[in-house]
């Protein structure tokens, strides 16, 4: 039996404007080289699901880092911090882009890294993963899991989220995998249609998988929205995509 092990720990990285933020890192033991994955957590916070997802990537041979977009809201339980951030209107898009660029740079500086990076996020993190991929040239692949409000109405725009991500589609810098549930209400199937039409119009490299019998957040095994069949197939799609673009 081959020896198997991983290390998982919190570290401090440089986020937006070089401000230190916390991050959770998991990677296989050994010298590598390992492909890198940056995970952008969802609106419910930098929580146990994201810790587990980070370790899942390490289990599959990736060096993975999940940075804490809510670091500036202080220390505390993830649900309390998420509630505080929600009451403050969320985190600014520009800050998320800066924090994620910092997580990618941190990963690229590690001696065990193979020089390729993929980014993945779900829910608000799916939106932010797409948005970030339209604002950087530092990554090789991006996965958007049911990103809500990629398409935004004028009324939804705020000082912190001043522009709808779909408007940046022409600047998407790497292949995109999108995974959506057809019963989701944010994004609705019509909004996913709009998102896809814009990718086609801009001649971008993308693949979308849209599941019947699933709504929002169907990978979350601890929530009633979990859909085992669609989630298992979705994870396979994620790993096949990263294998092709950052692991080979």
């Amino acid at each position: 039996m081959a020896y198997e092990g991983m290390i998982a720990e919190t570290v401090s990285i440089n986020g937006d404007k070089n401000e230190p933020i916390s991050a959770y890192v998991a990677r296989p033991l050994g010298p590598g080289p390992f492909p890198g994955v940056v995970l952008i957590h969802h609106a419910p916070g930098w929580d146990e699901f994201y810790r587990e997802a980070t370790r899942k990537f390490a289990h599959h041979g990736y060096a993975a880092v999940s940075h804490n977009l809510y670091h500036r809201a202080g220390e505390g339980k993830s649900d309390d911090i998420a509630a505080k951030v929600r009451a403050e209107g969320g985190v600014p898009d520009a800050q998320v882009i800066g924090d994620t660029e910092g997580a990618v740079a941190w990963l690229r500086a590690q001696p065990y890294h193979n020089s390729k990076v993929g980014v993945i996020g779900s829910c608000s993190g799916g939106r932010q993963a797409f948005l970030y991929a339209c604002h950087t040239k530092s990554i090789d692949a991006v996965v958007e899991l049911w990103g809500g409000r990629v398409v935004m109405s004028e009324e939804e725009l705020t000082d912190k989220q001043p522009k709808a991500p779909i408007e940046f589609t022409k600047d998407l810098s790497c292949p995109l995998l999108g995974i959506f549930g057809n019963e989701d209400r944010s994004p609705t199937p019509e909004q996913v249609d709009q998102h896809e039409a814009e990718l086609k119009k801009q001649d971008k490299d993308y693949e979308f998988h849209r599941y019947d019998g699933a709504g929002h957040g169907f990978f979350y095994y601890d929530r009633p929205m979990y859909r085992i069949e669609q989630a298992l197939d979705g994870w396979q799609k994620v790993f096949a995509f990263f294998q092709k673009h950052i692991a080979e």
């Binding site: 969802h42 609106a43 419910p44 809201a73 202080g74 220390e75 505390g76 339980k77 649900d79 309390d80 911090i81 998420a82 509630a83 505080k84 929600r86 009451a87 209107g89 969320g90 829910c123 608000s124 939106r127 990103g147 809500g148 409000r149 939804e156 705020t158 989701d184 209400r185 944010s186 709504g215 929002h216 957040g217 929530r223 009633p224 929205m225």
Partner: protein
């Protein structure tokens, strides 16, 4: 669903969180993913004190129907309280 449904009002009173009672500054009402209640989405109400830490929070997560029932109950209780206050001020 990722909503941007959030309503925030100032609050004067006290709430009881994990570490006991604390003074309130705001009530925050939203409709989004609950952390604990087994619904896809819930009306969440957080009674918070912004000047204390994030744990100064008394939280509930309600189904839409439960939230409507609570809203009705609040309105009835408030209407009765205001009637009571009017009656008391008329006597003095």
């Amino acid at each position: 669903m990722c909503t941007s449904i959030v309503e925030i009002v100032e609050a004067d009173g006290a709430g009881k969180g994990g570490d006991g009672w604390f003074a309130l500054t705001h009530s925050v009402v939203s409709y989004d993913h609950p952390h604990h209640a087994l619904f896809d989405d819930a009306i969440t109400i957080d009674f918070v004190n912004r000047s204390l830490g994030a744990e100064a929070r008394a939280a509930v997560e309600l189904s839409l129907d439960s939230a409507k029932a609570l809203s009705d109950a609040l309105q009835k209780a408030i209407a009765a309280a205001e009637e009571e206050e009017r009656a008391l001020s008329g006597r003095t």
